[in-house]
């Protein structure tokens, strides 16, 4: 590196790529993340894009963003506020007004800041810097469109293809801004494009290099940033997002249990990537059935489970609503089934591309009759893998449907992931009967109240199951009231028993703290970072996070009992809080809720917890 005017050493930095939804910001952001991860930073990413594929060009509603948080130690969230913003047009600048740290850096493609675009974005003057009061920011005005065009002069590409490469110019400039060796980015482009389209790969690499060199040229005027590599646990790493982690968790459970994997599903945002990833996994024998609707999705999975496969379905809230009746069938027949719900804003179609945690009650209760299913939640992109594996393990070992709640934030967010080995996972032993057994009965139970899983093709185990109430042991149809009550209670007791076979609830932070923060699912990173910051500052807060909600881990009452002041934080109107009140009526649960389609910010959590700590108990 040659001399620079100023290099700022940072522990962590948040960068946001923002542009029109056709500008390729998601690709730019994910390439930048891959390079940063490869260079040893820990990171967390968050894409934020409109539901429309190509929303009106140049408008604020059409802005697509991708935020990356890099750090030299563990990073749990994509960050509240950006240190660096790349704004490819005026709408991107407008949309991020107030979302960049004061004095931060803003890279603008000045070519797109013409009168037409400024008007579309809602600026009243031709000077957005003054209008948005950004005079104190470090503004890099780069004519990115013109420079990209110059860069590709000799490539014989049409205008559309040239404009499509603008994002790589911006990426090159940002690589320079963060002291990243350009080779890593060039390699990332090669991996992404060279197989599909070598000419585009070549053009993109040229543009990236020119963008980087542009940074070198202007360096005398611009401060740049450097972040040391994080100290991560040794091992082989890759980046992974929540949906990929879920797909792979299912594959791992299938291989470990020896049951073939079947996914019956229907595309829906933000869960479709699970269908897409697994439909490409025919090399591992995965059977994927793209059904005609979510009802058929889950019903094919139930059929596959009856036939002896590890069966799963993947969906989002509206799809889970359609599946309700079929989940009841899996409950009463006691067939293993993994139901993945990648939550989004609701009700109805709601906010398809925004995150929310508002399907908890639906997962717990959204069925007719007494219909207990296991309900779990994953809490970070990388632990989507671990908890999907757990969901499959519980489903098979306890012969029950398991609803696993993820969300849009986890689905699309990515993190470095230490690659595990299959041999290190806990065993999965499905209760499949062996040998000849003349007296075998489909609803006889073991000490965990679990029935055996005999499936078609197994000689001598022919039996009939169905949605009608069944007599205990024999499984024959029974309308007897006393038997029905007994079976209802047994099905619940079977689920309650699972509390003894799952990990305990973990308490983070000092047990003597006067405030316990509770959360579940995708909010873990923000909650953990907030309480960690506060504890480092000597402001004591304890924290527990639920991955298992029905049943709760067996030490839940014990942990709750240690604290007087408890606040339940959720991206909904208070669903876990209500459920806790029902289960632990002796405790008082305060609520902290956000329902804006976005994750919590660490700052808002810290200020709320600080305020709560100062409040009297009454």
């Amino acid at each position: 590196m040659s001399k620079r005017s100023k290099v700022i050493e940072l522990k962590e930095v948040v960068i946001r790529f923002s542009g029109d939804s056709g500008d390729g910001m998601q690709l730019t952001g994910s390439l930048f993340s891959d390079v940063s991860a490869f260079l040893g930073n820990d990171l967390s990413t968050f894409p934020d894009y409109p539901a429309e594929i190509r929303a009106p060009q140049g408008t604020v509603s059409g802005v697509s963003g991708f935020q990356v948080h890099l750090g030299n130690s563990e990073v749990y969230t994509p960050g509240d506020i950006a240190d660096v913003l790349v704004a490819m047009n005026p709408a991107a600048l407008k949309a991020n007004n107030g979302k960049v740290r004061e004095g931060g850096t803003i890279v603008m493609d000045v070519d797109s800041f013409d009168e037409k675009n400024l008007t579309k974005a809602g600026y009243l003057t031709d000077d957005p810097i003054t209008e948005d009061q950004l005079q104190d920011y470090n503004i890099i005005k780069a004519p990115i469109t013109t420079l990209t065009r110059n860069s590709l002069e000799d490539f014989g590409l049409d205008n559309k293809s040239i404009l499509r490469s603008k994002n790589m110019y911006a990426l090159g400039l940002v690589n320079w801004l963060f002291h990243q060796p350009i080779e890593a980015a060039l390699e990332a482009i090669d991996k992404k494009f060279s197989k599909k389209n070598p000419n585009i790969a070549k053009a993109n690499k040229k543009v990236l290099r020119d963008g980087y060199n542009y940074g070198v040229t202007i360096q005398a005027l611009t401060p740049s940033y450097h972040i040391n590599a994080a100290e991560l646990k040794p091992g082989r790493y890759r980046t992974i997002n929540g949906n990929l982690a879920i797909s792979w968790g299912l594959i791992a459970a299938s291989q470990k249990s020896g049951r073939e994997l079947f996914l019956g599903t229907y595309p829906i945002t933000p869960a479709s990537e699970i269908l897409q990833e697994l439909s490409g996994r025919k090399d591992l024998g995965v059977k994927v059935f793209q059904a005609e609707d979510e009802i058929a999705g889950i019903c094919t999975a139930i059929g596959a489970s009856f036939a002896g496969d590890l069966a799963a379905t993947s969906t989002s809230g509206p799809g889970l609503a359609l599946m309700s009746e079929a989940i009841g069938l899996a409950v009463i027949t006691e067939l293993p089934l993994v139901i993945i719900n990648v939550q989004r804003g609701g009700p109805s179609t709601g906010l398809p591309t925004k995150t929310e945690q508002s399907d908890l009650m639906q997962a717990l209760y959204g069925r007719n009759g007494e219909s207990p299913a296991v309900v779990m939640a994953t809490s970070s992109p990388s632990d989507c893998f671990k908890y999907t594996y757990w969901a499959a393990k519980i489903a098979m070992e306890h012969m029950t449907p398991v609803i696993l709640l993820s969300d849009g934030y986890l689905a699309n967010g990515s993190q470095p992931w230490r690659i595990p080995k299959l041999k290190d996972f806990p065993n999965i032993i499905p209760p499949i009967p062996v040998g000849e057994n003349e007296d075998w009965q489909p609803y006889a139970r073991n000490e965990k109240l679990v029935r055996e899983w005999a499936y078609p093709s197994m000689h001598g185990y022919q039996h009939r199951i169905g949605g009608l109430e069944k007599e205990e042991d024999t499984g024959n149809v029974s309308y007897d009231g006393v038997n029905h009550e007994k079976m209802t209670k047994t099905r619940q007791a079977k689920i309650d028993e699972i509390a003894h076979h799952i990990p305990d609830l973990i308490l983070y932070g000092p047990p003597e703290a006067d405030l316990l923060v509770l959360g579940w699912g995708g909010t873990f990173g923000h909650l953990y970072t907030a309480i960690d910051d506060m504890n480092i500052a000597g402001n004591k807060v304890a924290f527990a996070h639920f991955r298992f909600i029905h049943p709760f881990p067996k030490n839940t009452a014990e942990i709750l009992g240690q604290f007087k002041k408890i606040v339940v934080c959720e991206l909904n109107n208070g669903q876990l809080a209500s459920y806790l009140r029902m289960n632990f009526p002796e405790k008082r649960f305060r609520q902290y809720n956000k329902i804006q389609g976005l994750p919590f910010t660490v700052d808002e959590l810290k200020s709320h917890f600080t305020q709560l700590k100062n409040e009297s108990d009454e």
């Binding site: 019956g264 591992l284 005609e292 690659i419 499936y455 093709s457």
Partner: protein, 335 residues
């Protein structure tokens, strides 16, 4: 050859249909015919939805699954794709398959999954006690249509063929010989087979098919189609079908110079659907009602193709295990 007897295909459960219900005969014929199919009871799965007919799996000595209303096609599809070696039967009715389950029914057919679907058509809702169904004739009076229906009924054959169905057959509950014949043909056919059984609901829609199914009416009011045979019917096979332009016509041999040479010969294997749809749509009294195998065309099945793709991709891919999968692509080592 038949190592199993009918007993092996029966369960120990008491059959709970109404006395005189057409379902009894269909159940017995199915169980009896299964002894001729060469499949062990453990390799057969019988899947149903909801309705009187859908209780049938409980009476089978095979694997059975009584699922939820309308969804049997989807559950059966999952069973077959999970294990293509199984012989999968779906038992359904006109309400279960054509009303609530219409979507799954047409998509199972479109995909051509190797299922044998027996559609019990009694043109009424029996289990909910007497409302009209999607196959009830226009004007039909029932508990939910006291002034007669104002709806067009589905014609199951036309619907199945419109959904790209490659096998459609029809029989009547009391026509044991034709039932046996079409059950065997369906089991043999690779792909979705639809068998419409004209079934009598003795309580809510008694004698609805009587003009067709009554023994003494059968010869003159039905025509049993056989591949490669002329389309003749009547007590002495004195009548036949010819096609004038696009329309079918009933003629009498010896009248107006008509000889057997003029009579259509049934080709169940013809890929073009137009004549098959016309045959399936023939209604009494203008026409004899067609029984037997109306269409039986071989096309690739979903389940076979899934298995083939898996085999092919497994061979080509260098990802053989989970550990191969997760270490592919962009990874790095932290020391």
């Amino acid at each position: 050859m038949n190592k199993h007897t009918i007993k092996d295909y029966k369960s120990d459960q008491y059959v709970r249909w109404c006395p005189g219900c057409g379902d009894h005969a269909i159940l017995n014929t199915l169980q009896k015919t299964m002894t001729e199919m060469g499949k062990d009871p453990e390799d057969i799965a019988v899947i149903s939805g909801i309705g009187c007919s859908s209780r049938l799996p409980y009476y089978m000595g095979t694997y059975g699954f009584h699922t939820i209303h309308g969804r049997a096609s989807a559950v059966a599809s999952g069973v077959k794709v999970a294990n293509p070696d199984l012989c999968v039967w779906q038992i359904t009715g006109d309400g279960d398959a054509l009303a609530i389950g219409g979507n799954h029914f047409i998509h199972a057919i479109r995909r051509n999954i190797d299922l044998n679907i027996i559609l019990f058509n009694n043109q009424i809702y029996g289990l909910t006690k007497g409302q009209y169904s999607p196959t009830s004739k226009r004007g039909f009076i029932s508990k939910s249509s006291p002034y007669g229906t104002v709806e067009q009924p589905f014609r199951p054959g036309e619907l199945a063929l419109g959904a790209r169905g490659q096998f459609f057959a029809r029989t009547a509950d009391n026509d044991l010989a034709t039932s046996r014949q079409v059950f065997l043909a369906a089991a043999k056919h690779k792909g979705t087979s639809i068998i419409e059984v004209l079934q009598n609901c003795v309580i809510y829609n008694d004698k609805t098919h009587i003009e067709i199914t009554k023994k003494e009416n059968r010869a003159k009011n039905t025509i049993v189609l056989e591949h490669g045979k002329p389309m003749l019917f009547g007590e002495n096979k004195e009548k036949g079908l010819i096609r004038i332009g696009m329309e079918l016509k009933v003629v009498e041999l010896g009248k107006g110079g008509i000889t057997e040479k003029d009579i259509l010969v049934h080709d169940a294997h013809e890929p073009n659907t137009s004549l098959h749809i016309e045959l399936a749509n023939m209604e009494y009294p203008e026409f004899p009602v067609a029984l037997g195998v109306i269409r039986d065309v071989v096309t690739p099945t979903y389940d076979e193709n899934v298995a083939l793709q898996v085999e092919m991709v497994k061979e080509q891919s260098n990802i053989k295990t989970f550990d191969d999968l997760v270490t592919q692509g962009n990874t790095w080592i932290v020391e």
